[in-house]
Amino acid sequence: MKDVRDAQMLGRNTEGKLVRRPISPFMLGTAYKAQMSSMTSITHRITGCALGGGAVLLTLWLVCAASGDNAFSMIQAFLGSWIGILVLIGFTAALFYHFLNGIRHLGWDAGMGFELDTMHRTGWSVVAGTAVLTVLFWVIGFLVW
């Protein structure tokens, strides 16, 4: 026994034999099927981290805008390339998802929306809203403006 916490894992089976008690499987893997609650939760965290990276990119863009035409045209060229556009599409999708699901979280913090059917409805609304807002944003960005 190496860790004191192992003592809490000890149990006896029906024959009185000392055994290590079973533990539930790790959250990732094949043990659990995908659920609205777990999927929206993990996506909220992933998009949150991605937005941290997006904030660094935004800061870089601001620094370039502040330093001069040379730096600014460089970052504009990068952001305008296909890989830059791809990154920006990911950024906006992450932003809209985190924005909408964040409202959901604030509702939960206030004690609202815990019923299963409500949770599924708001979850799908967040997914659909993210898609609609992202497409809308890029339609405005590319075509209308």
Binding site: V4, L18, G102, I103
Partner: protein, 78 residues
Amino acid sequence: MNNIDRDPTVHIMRSQLGRARGLGAAKAGVHHWWAQRLTAAALLPLALYFVISVIILDHATREQVAAYLGEPSREVRC
């Protein structure tokens, strides 16, 4: 845990209480919770402002970007 059946004794003198003592609440939980809710709620209008700003600055020259960001009322963004 291999020889668990031969040796069921837990050879650790320290009690569970002794291990857990001093690891209690930091007494700052409520403040942190409120700070998180408040900044989250504040980000709702600010995020929309950011998105609208990006749309406005689409195809803008550096001078236009600098002028837009240079307005004192937009200090909140940076």
